[in-house]
Subunit: 318 residues, 2 copies
């Protein structure tokens, strides 16, 4: 099927590449790598995004081939949904996708149902970028430094820098081949992993100041009142990952972050390290998630009250 | 030479493996991998350490083959200095090394002068573990999950998880081959990169509370008074990496951490991101370092006074 997609792309004159809404490193990096590669063969190619490219990815090559969707109502010979788990992940670009002469769906999410004329999904890939790397090969396009920089960024993003369990031997082989292209690994890594906004740093400080350990340090809880968000000048997305401050403390099995929302709701994020099933607690409060990462939202008291309730639940599972 | 070392090891009955003093992930991981491999071929092999194995590496296989040096005054057929840039890095184990029938020096530090009967140094390797991986191959030892876990830990440690500029295509090829052995990448990564002591987290909070931005956020300074160390319950080594909180803030070019020592000295660490040469400032105060990372110690005032002086220096270089 990848060969068929390569042949079909070779015949198309104009190609729209559509990464998923709220595009992340894999979605953006894969899309730009494919766009640069196709553009080099003379194709009229555009990466059409639902939102602006996040600042963190502004260093990526090929951004001149990308733009916001709303300015574009052309009809393309071929449209590729890239890294989109389903049609909904195209957002408002679904119409553009469906009116293309040929539709292609390239993805690595195991739940992808298939929704295009040509579907290629490979859940064994840690990132869609691994598929794009193979696709460029099928098309006889040898990636240069620019494509390699985009693909490396994509793979590093989706594997947490080769640290998540989705990382495979094949992931490292591809990384090796991308490094041969001369990419600046230290610079890319610093940009995607080490750059933090001043607001997020202040929020981390607030989180640490509020941090409490219970049960001989086996439970760690972070409390974020509304004023802490205001004081730190943090944006909503800056709360991402803050719970890991608690989870990563030596000896901690279960970690929670309680955040007071503007409307009075309390948003609770839960993590565990080895045996506590935090999804059981989330279910109890109509939330969801997995064994090691779950969450829920309640409006049954203030931070302190919800914290007490939650501690009782966590103690019961230790 | 690696082949010669492999042949010599094959002939030795007893082998002492000596990682450098204050052994890090590469020194310990490489030593244990070699010990496990040799032990499997029936050798009497010991890893002799100057200090106890840091808690963070207590999950590594093969620790039953390792111990503190002071209990051991045997004479070995062969002694290997591993990951030791020079003889001094053997510390008090130098005598044991020199009285062995055959001495071997395996290292990747470019400044290694060579000091053994058989020297093998390869500065193109990101970690000494890459050499040990090749050596096991030369000896016909196929690494199992245990050796692979040690080697992966070693390589991940010395490359910052494949993020530093020392990471090469060969590094990723070896990582790929180690993953094939079935190692638990997510677990190893969490243990070596994400585990933080409660004291270090509190110290990070103190650092963030003290953080000041200057010159439109291009300079970031962290101030650690003695009481902050006491309040946080942090150990001395917990200050490692704290300066990166300042360095990693979006927009920061130069970062400094000023720490008040017990004796009244002020220890200053400096980092820069792209153009400021912080070693110039360190030299001015009889310190040392590199363009992007340097430091010095002074006793010419309190935190505030040294901070003001330093800011003047940094402003001049922006």
């Amino acid at each position: 099927m990848l060969k068929k997609i390569a042949e079909t792309m070779a015949k198309a004159g104009s190609i729209a590449i559509l990464p998923h809404i709220a595009a992340d490193g894999d979605a953006i990096g894969s899309s730009l790598a494919l766009a640069i590669g196709l553009s080099g063969t003379g194709k009229d190619v555009r990466v059409l995004l639902e939102e602006k490219v996040p600042q963190i990815y502004s260093f990526l090559p090929g951004l001149e081939l990308a733009g916001l969707f709303d300015a574009d109502d052309r009809r393309y010979d071929l449209a590729v949904a890239l890294d989109c788990g389903d049609l909904e992940r195209l957002g408002s670009r679904r119409t553009l996708f469906e009116k293309a002469s040929i539709t292609v769906n390239i993805d690595h999410h195991p739940t992808n149902p298939g929704f295009a004329a040509l579907d290629y999904t490979d859940p064994s890939c840690a990132a869609s970028a691994e598929i794009i790397y193979a696709l460029l090969g099928e098309m006889g396009i040898d990636p240069g430094n620019d494509e390699a920089t985009c693909l490396y960024t994509a793979i590093a993003s989706d594997t947490g820098g080769f640290r998540y369990s989705n990382t495979t031997p094949a992931t490292h082989i591809i990384a090796s081949e991308l490094l041969i292209k001369g990419i600046d690994v230290a610079d890319i890594s610093r940009r995607i992993f080490d750059t933090v906004s001043p607001g997020k740093v202040r929020l981390a400080g607030e989180a640490i100041n509020s941090l409490k350990l219970y049960e001989d340090g086996r439970i760690a809880v972070i409390y974020i009142p509304n004023e802490a968000m205001r004081r730190s000048g943090a944006a909503d997305e800056d709360t991402d990952g803050i719970i890991n401050i608690a989870r990563n403390i030596n000896g901690v099995e279960a970690a929670a972050m309680l955040r007071e929302m503007e409307n009075g709701d309390i948003r609770v994020n839960l993590r565990s390290n080895s045996h506590v099933d935090v999804s059981a607690i989330a279910s109890k409060y109509s939330g969801g998630g997995h064994t090691r990462a779950a969450g829920f939202t309640v409006r049954i008291g203030d931070l302190e009250q919800v914290g007490k309730m939650l501690l009782d639940d966590l103690r019961g599972l230790l």
